[in-house]
């Protein structure tokens, strides 16, 4: 029978994850004999993911690859899955080590953190100014790691003055309102870093609506298709992202490798098909690739892809 690999995402309907699903399907075709179940809750809650995971356990899937809404809350459910012989990996947004066999970072968190601050710093007038962070939910694992990394590299960018972190909960309207608040309360704000594809679009929109294009630069992580307009308008000078298609592809390949008997332990190398090998580090974590920067010169071209 087919191998069944479940790709569990934070919430259905988000462009980023739809693209990842494309990659997963591509991988399935390449391997052959693999059925990918693309699923997830409809809101970004841990409880919703747990229900989904429970039903996957009941269906006796062979592997679960999850982008977690909560680092810790999924652990008991995923542990149960592993107890019943299901391979579990996390990707994009991680699960605490005891809840999975390995974690695939889209890119190394340090690189992402650095890249975000760099993109902000590069476009600061006179090289210095206030910068705010607009995150997703306060519980979102990857966001929190990246923000931590950003803070670590700050000494290298003396012009960047991080004033606050606000949370848009990956809701466009909440992110919009939070951005409005930022613009209000920080008159000297020069840049907003939104390491979330929902937040960055809303922030750019809010900056445009407030007539602050040219004064405040929105940057962070976003999808070219969603950001193209804002790059054109100038609300965002540049932003970064890895390719979500590759991410879904790699996660599926890794899951397949585990099903086929590969062992996940620090130092091990697992296959990611066309993306090469993943070398697991401490905590069984590995990074896929470097983030890629998009700006006016290339965004149109990639907007057609994802």
């Amino acid at each position: 029978a087919d191998k069944k690999i479940a790709l569990v995402v934070k919430a259905l309907g988000i462009g980023f994850f739809e693209a990842a699903n494309k990659g997963a399907q591509e991988a399935a075709k390449e391997i052959g004999g693999v059925e990918v179940i693309y699923t997830g809750p409809t809101t970004t809650t841990a409880e919703g993911q747990i229900e989904v995971i429970n039903s996957l356990i009941a269906q006796k899937v062979d592997a679960i690859a999850v982008s977690a809404n909560d680092t810790d809350a999924l652990v008991p459910a995923l542990k149960k899955a592993m107890d019943r012989g299901i391979k579990v990996i996390s990707w994009d947004s991680g699960v605490a080590p005891e809840g999975r066999q390995l974690h695939l970072n889209p890119s190394s968190s340090a690189l992402i953190g650095n890249m975000c601050v760099k993109m902000a710093a590069d476009n600061l007038p006179e090289g210095k100014g206030d910068v705010a962070i607009l995150s997703a939910t306060a519980t979102s694992t990857n966001q929190n790691v990246w923000i931590e990394e950003m803070k670590k590299v700050l000494p290298n960018y003396p012009g960047v003055n991080i004033v606050t972190t606000v949370y848009g909960d990956d809701l466009a309207d909440k992110s919009y309102r939070e951005t409005q608040g930022l613009i209000q309360s920080h008159p000297n704000l020069k840049a907003i870093i939104a390491p979330t594809s929902v937040g960055i679009v809303a922030a750019a929109q809010a900056v445009a609506d407030a007539g602050k294009i040219g004064q405040i630069n929105v940057t962070g992580l976003g999808l070219p298709s969603e950001m193209a307009g804002h790059v054109k308008s100038g609300a965002s000078k540049s932003f970064a992202i890895w390719n979500p298609i590759d991410l879904g592809y790699s996660a599926t390949m890794l899951a397949n490798d585990l099903i086929d008997g590969a062992e996940a332990k620090p130092g091990a190398e697992l296959s990611m098909g066309r993306m090469g090998k993943l070398k697991l580090g401490e905590n069984n974590e590995g990074a896929m690739a470097d983030p890629f920067v998009y700006d006016a010169s290339n965004v149109e071209e990639f907007a057609k892809i994802f």
Binding site: T42, T45, E47, E51, V52, A58, D72, V75, P76, A138
Partner: protein
Amino acid sequence: MAEEPMTTRHIPDRLQGRSARLLKSWESLLVVVAILIFTVNSFASPYFLDPWNLSDATFNFTEKALIAFAMALVVISGEIDLSVASIVALTSTAMGYAAAQGFDTPALVAVGLMTGLACGAINGLLVTRLGLPSIVVTIGTMSLFRGIAFIVLGDQAFTSYPESFAYFGQGYVWWVFSFEFCLFLGFAVFYAALLHLTNFGRAVYAIGNNQTAALFSGVRVARVKFTLFLLTGLMSAIASICLTSRLGSTRPSIALGWELEVVTMVVLGGVSILGGSGTIGGVVLAALIMGMVTFGFGLLNVPGIVMSIFIGFLLISVIALPILYARLKRRMAH
């Protein structure tokens, strides 16, 4: 009664036998629905009839059902408590905080129960002492309780629960019967007895039907209502212990949106939202139905939101169909 002669007449105790009434009741309709869903599920997915899978599926509803039992009583008394999910969050936060201070499991449970009772007492006092409508009071405390959890935790999480704490949400009493499921059965019996066999239960019905007349008849209305809010607080705390133990961690957004699911369960169980009628048996059946629907759809990888559409339809149609049927029958009779 209109035709009878003028002598002192004997009035029979009951108009129809118990079995006749049982047959026509809401609960029998729910039993039919439940059997139907069970059958459809067993045909739709080969994984459904597996005892371990069914056991896993019970986790979908047990915690909410625990709250629904107390909520049923509150709704029968003509009030509502929309703050239950927030009580779950605040209780979980309090336990997480205590766990971080190194409390052991019994102490955590005690902290949880006390927090739940305190929240219930606040709702109860606002409703009975100040005479405020419970629907708005609990919309307010709903924001307040969860808001406190957010102030305490912000973007943090409590994750350091003692090993033994995991039993409540992950332990099994015997074979496939989880601790939560046994708790569910136990409280079902307890609440059924409380509501249907005691003076307290009768008082709840009387208050829901006519609060003023109940007061004049010597029912201690304020005391009963206060107790009911304490009970929802307590049951929310128990649900919170189970959920926290099952997740092994606490975030302030825990159990978000549960209040509407609990109310849906209660109403689907045949409890009149206007107060005055309903049974625990109905709530138990509604919990089973909702759990089976969620699980059955889940096995087919149907997104959760589609299940909620189904529940929405079920909610309206189980109320609408009997009305339409009665209307149709009357029209046919003419």
